[in-house]
Subunit: 203 residues, 2 copies
């Protein structure tokens, strides 16, 4: 495949683009040919943005969210409630939760969930640092906001046990019928949970 | 949407990535976060490959295919039959035809097809330069290899008329049943053409 496209410059660009997730060689070629049709400025701007992003973004030393500073804007904000920490799987989950506009506490990004099949044990995740944060004091509640999957639940339980002797209150996201969904499209287990965890009606 | 992701470096990268065709902001974010998880070398290599490609590749002054030299390897090859020129819509079509291994002549890349709806007239395409190439002599046959679409057929006919007084032989790709396709999946017009243009059986 080395000289597939006659030009080794095109070949290199296609090879590098196709390393991105979800981008095969056909799509990579389409993207490369698109850039060749654009002004030089377009590909220069893209290359510069990617380089500056990768070199400029680090991980917050407190919550492990992405950040341009050693401590991220959320962790260093005086406006946030420092007594509540929401535990999430990854950086994208922080964005999703921030977009709800509901949460005003801090985060803790694990960097994944426990998954024996993928060889990801607790030691590969930011769980020790979470326990340290809680032990350091000032945190009243840890909200587990991992996915309602087998791996998410396993990780929830593991963290719950690790935090057991700290006395911190541990909660998790409510399970229930998705807003906008009909009952008939909700699986039995979720339906059962939503019945058991029913809340007072508010109009 | 300016500060959507808290980090303006991430924001710029997502914005630039989402300018690529078929890549929306969600996909762009997924790609950016992927690069953030990789070594610095991964994004550096991608940025460098794109920049070097865009700055290093120009268009062949003869056939308008992409090339790292003023004249492309096909046009400058002593092994190619210079008496046959295959007219294609774009650079990708050259790659497709080269991959068949059937054609040993030269190419002429139009850079599109005539499409009044998209405001693309003959003057926006490399048609004058094709006529010039033919008038310069040495070309016996021009093969029209444009798509069998309304725009492709219109362009075929326009080129055919422009070349009428040069005396060059003008042919086009055969229309017919696609190899591997059942008759029942072939549309009536194609089936009619394949019947009219039937070829001697060869086992």
């Amino acid at each position: 495949m080395e000289e597939e496209f006659q030009s080794q410059l095109l070949n290199s660009a296609v090879t590098e683009l196709s390393r991105l997730p979800g981008i095969g060689r056909k799509t990579a070629l389409r993207l490369a040919l698109h850039l060749l049709r654009q002004d030089v400025e377009a590909s220069d701007a893209l290359a510069r943005a990617l380089t500056e992003m990768r070199h400029g973004i680090r991980y917050c030393s407190v919550c492990h969210n992405i950040s341009q500073e050693p401590v991220c804007p959320i962790c260093s904000s005086a406006m946030r409630d420092r007594s509540v920490v929401c535990v999430v799987e990854n950086v994208k989950d922080v964005m999703l939760l921030e977009n709800t506009g509901i949460f005003n506490g801090l985060y803790h990004v694990l960097g994944g969930v426990i998954s024996p099949i993928d060889g990801i044990g607790p030691d590969r995740l930011e769980i020790d640092s979470l326990v340290e944060r809680v032990r350091a004091g000032g945190i009243d509640e840890v909200i587990l906001a991992l996915g309602a999957t087998m791996e998410g639940e396993t990780t929830n339980y593991y963290i719950f046990r690790r935090l057991a002797d700290t006395g911190v209150k541990v909660t998790q996201l409510a399970r229930g019928v998705a807003v906008g969904n009909d009952i008939e499209y909700t699986d039995e287990i979720t339906l059962g949970r939503s019945l058991r965890d029913r809340t007072p009606f508010s109009a």
